[in-house]
C-alpha cells in the first residue's frame, strides 16, 4: 500500500491508500484557484522536464496533462508516438531510453497495452512515471478527477469546505457504474478510488461486459438496472469502446441503448439530486441520451475542467517530492 505519491510513481489506484488519495485531492483544491487567475501559472516545477509520451491516440488526456505541466512551469517534451513507430521496430525500452537520454524528471505515459507504465518504471527507475492510461488496466488520474469532482460538487451543495471534509462525503455514497466494466481502465480506477474512500459501488451492464471477479474489486452486481438507478447517488457511465472491438460483446448498439443506455425515460428514475458522470468521449445516443448528457444533473464538463488541477497536483507531488520546493 502506497501512503503518499510524494516522490513516487502513480501507476495504479489499486495500491494507493485512502490518505494518499485525499492528499492528492486536497492538493488539487489549491490548484483550482490557479486555474481561475488571469495569469494561470505558478513556478512550482520550473526547470523540471516532463515528457508526455502518448503511444495511443488521445486528445483530451494529453491536452489536460500538458496544460497542467505548463501551468506548473515545467518544460514539456511532447512526443506523439504513432502506433506505426512500434511497427517500425523500436522496442518500448529503446524509445524510453531515447527520451530519457534527453534528461527528464517525469514521464506521462499513455499506452494501449496494460502494464506499460509499470514496465517503463522499471526501465527508468530514476524517472517518475505517471500512468495516463494503460490498456484495460488503469487510468489513475481519471479516477482521481472523478473522485475530486464528486467531492467538490457535494461540498458546494452542503456548503462545506472540501479539504476539511476529507473523505467524509464518500461515506455511504451510492455509486452505480454502467456499461463496459470489463474492458475499462476508467472503471478499474474509479472503483478503486470510490471504494477506498468509503463509497458503495454497484455495477450494471450485460454479463459479457462485466468482470467475473467483481467481488474482488469491492463492487457488487446490480441485476435490475432500473432499480439501481433509483438507488444511486452518482451514476458513472462508461464509453462503449467500439474501436476496441467490444461491439461484438453486445448484439447491436441499438439493443445496448434499449437495455443499458441512460435514456430520457430512465433518467427520470434518478433521484433529483443524483449526479451523472462520463469520462468522455461520449457516444451520444448510445450509452447516454444527448439531452441527459447536457442536463442539469450531468457534471461531465466539470470532470473535464477538473482534469487540469488534479493532474497539476499529481505532477507536483510526484516530481517535487524528489526534493524540490514549491
Amino acid at each position: 500500500m502506497i501512503e503518499t505519491i510524494r516522490g513516487q510513481n502513480l501507476l495504479s489506484l489499486n495500491d494507493l491508500s485512502k490518505e494518499a488519495i485525499i492528499e492528492i485531492l486536497n492538493e488539487a483544491e489549491s490548484f483550482v484557484e490557479v486555474n481561475e487567475r488571469a495569469i494561470k501559472k505558478v513556478p512550482a516545477l520550473k526547470g523540471r522536464v516532463v515528457a508526455s509520451l502518448f503511444f495511443e491516440e488521445s486528445t483530451r488526456t494529453r491536452l489536460s496533462f500538458e496544460t497542467a505541466a505548463k501551468r506548473l512551469s515545467a518544460d514539456v517534451l511532447s512526443l506523439a508516438v504513432a502506433s506505426s513507430s512500434v511497427k517500425k521496430g523500436e522496442s518500448l525500452r529503446d524509445t524510453i531510453a531515447t527520451v530519457d537520454a534527453l534528461g527528464i524528471d517525469a514521464v506521462v505515459l499513455r499506452h494501449a497495452s496494460s502494464g506499460a507504465a509499470e514496465q517503463v518504471s522499471r526501465y527508468v527507475p530514476h524517472v517518475r512515471v505517471i500512468n495516463a492510461g494503460d490498456g484495460q488496466h488503469q487510468h489513475p488520474t481519471q479516477g482521481l478527477l472523478d473522485a475530486f469532482t464528486i467531492r467538490q460538487t457535494l461540498a458546494e451543495r452542503k456548503g462545506v469546505d472540501p479539504i476539511a471534509s476529507g473523505a467524509s462525503l464518500f461515506e455511504g455514497l451510492k455509486v452505480l457504474i454502467v456499461g463496459d466494466i470489463r474492458h475499462s481502465r476508467v472503471a478499474r480506477s474509479d472503483i478503486a478510488a470510490y471504494t477506498s474512500l468509503g463509497a458503495e459501488v454497484r455495477v450494471a451492464g450485460p454479463p459479457t461486459l462485466l468482470p467475473q471477479s467483481l467481488a474482488e474489486w469491492g463492487a457488487t452486481f446490480a441485476p435490475n438496472f432500473e432499480e439501481a438507478l433509483r438507488w444511486a447517488d452518482v451514476v458513472g457511465l462508461l464509453r462503449l469502446q467500439r474501436e476496441r472491438g467490444t461491439g461484438s460483446f453486445v448484439p447491436t448498439l441499438d439493443e445496448y441503448t434499449s437495455t443499458y443506455g441512460l435514456t430520457q425515460e430512465r433518467a427520470r428514475l434518478l433521484k433529483p439530486e443524483a449526479l451523472i458522470m462520463h469520462p468522455g468521449p461520449m457516444n451520444r445516443g448510445v450509452e447516454v441520451d444527448s439531452k441527459v448528457a447536457d442536463g442539469p444533473q450531468a457534471i461531465i464538463r466539470r470532470q473535464v475542467s477538473n482534469g487540469v488541477p488534479v493532474r497539476m497536483a499529481v505532477l507536483y507531488l510526484s516530481i517535487a517530492g524528489l526534493g524540490g520546493a514549491k
Binding site: 489499486n14 512500434v86 522496442s91 518500448l92 525500452r93 529503446d94 499506452h111 494501449a112 497495452s113 496494460s114 502494464g115 506499460a116 509499470e118 514496465q119 522499471r122 494503460d134 490498456g135 484495460q136 488496466h137 488503469q138 470489463r182 481502465r185 478499474r188 468482470p211 467475473q212 471477479s213 474482488e216 474489486w217
Partner: protein, 437 residues
Amino acid sequence: MNNILITGAMLVTANGAVEADLRVRNGVIREIGPALTPLEDEQVLQLEGQWVGPGFVDLHTHLREPGGESAETIASGARAGIVGGYTALVTMPNTEPALDTVALVSFVLAEGARTPISIAVAGAITQNREGQQLAPMAEMAALGVRIFTDDGSGVQNAGVMRRALSYSKPLGVRLAQHCEDDSLVGSGVMNEGPLAESLGLGGRSNLAEEIMVQRDIDLLRSTGGSLHLLHLSTARSIELVVNAKAEGLDVTCEVTPHHLTMDESACATYDPLFKVHPPLRSSLDVLALREALSGGHIDAVATDHAPHAPETKDRAFDEAPAGLLGLETAASLTYEALGQSACDPVLFYSVLSRGPARVAQLRASDCPVGLSAQGGALEVGEVANLTAFDPHVHWRVDASALQSRASNTPYADRAMFGRVTTVISKGELVLHAGELQ
C-alpha cells in the same frame, strides 16, 4: 572415440537404481559391474553420489532454424541441450518457412547431424501450418520424421484434424497437438481469472485447452492412430488423458518444467519473460500437474524451449511473443517438481528420457540419418548416450551464461536444486563437470 570409465555413480535402469561402474569403449557400453578396474587408455569419471542414466530426450524444442537465427540456431540450441543433459532434441516445425516439405526437413536433419547430439524433426501437419491442406507426411516420414504437429497453434478445424489422424495412421507416426481453441483464446495473453481481470490483461481460459483435448481424444477414438498432447497445463486436461489411456487409446502427453514450477502470479509485474502459451495457470493446476507427474501419468517432461531475441521481450506484455527458454533448466526443475530429495531416480529418467524417447520413436533402425539409440535400458552393447545428474548441487541461474543465443529465461537468479554434470552423446564425452567439451 573416448574410452570412458564411470565410477561411483548410481546407474538408473528402467527398473531400479544400482551402484555400479560403467565402461564405454568405442562409443558402446561394454561393461557394467561393481568396482571395475580402469584400463590404461580410459578417461575415468568419478561420479560419486550422482545418478547416471540414459541421455535426456526433449520432445519439444524450438531451434528456430531456418528463419529465426537471431534467437537460436540448430548449433546453439544443441549446445544448450547438452548443458541441460539432452542427447536428442525433437525440433518443432514453426520455423520460417515452416518445416512442411522434404527439402526443409532434409536441411534441418543435415544441420542437426553436424551437432554432437541427435536432432530429430517434427514435421508440420498442414502446409505452412495454416490448418487447411495436409502437408506431405508420407514423404517426410520416409526421412525418419515420426512426429507431426502445427505447434504454436493447434489444428483448429476438427475436420482437418480428423483427416490428418486418419491419413497418418498407416505411416506409423504420431500427431502432436497444441491444444488451444482460438475462438476461446481470443486475444488472451495470460491465464483467465481474477488476476488477469485485475491486471487488465486478456485471459486464455482452461476451457480453451480442455475442449481441444476432449475433441482430439474423441476424434482419435473414431480414426485410430497415435496422438500426443503437447504442454498440458490444467488438471482437467490430465484427467481426460488418464481416462483416454485407460480406455486403451494410443494417446500420450507431456508437461513443461515451467507449468510445474510457476503459476500465474508470475505475470503480476507484466514481465513478458513469463508470457507463454498455454499460460502459467493457477496454483491448483500446478499442484495437479505435479501430482500427475509423481503418479506416473505423464509420459514426458518436455521443455517447449522457445528462444526469443531480447528486443522482442522489451515490449509490452500483450505485444511480446510468447515462450521461454527451457533446455538448460529443465532437469533441475523436474527434480524440484518430483520432490527434490524425495525424487525417484527411475521416474526422473522416465519422464526426461525413456518416456519421451518412446513417444518420439527414436530408434536407430528408424532413421537413415543416423539417430543412435536413445532413452536406452543401460545395457551392454548399447550406444552410449548417458547423462549424469548430481542431485546434491545447489546453483543459481545466470542468464548471461546460457548457451542459448537468447536469454529469455524466467529463472534468472533463481535457486535451483540438482544439476546435470556429465553428458556422453554417441559415445563421446560432450559435457564434463558442467563444461562443454
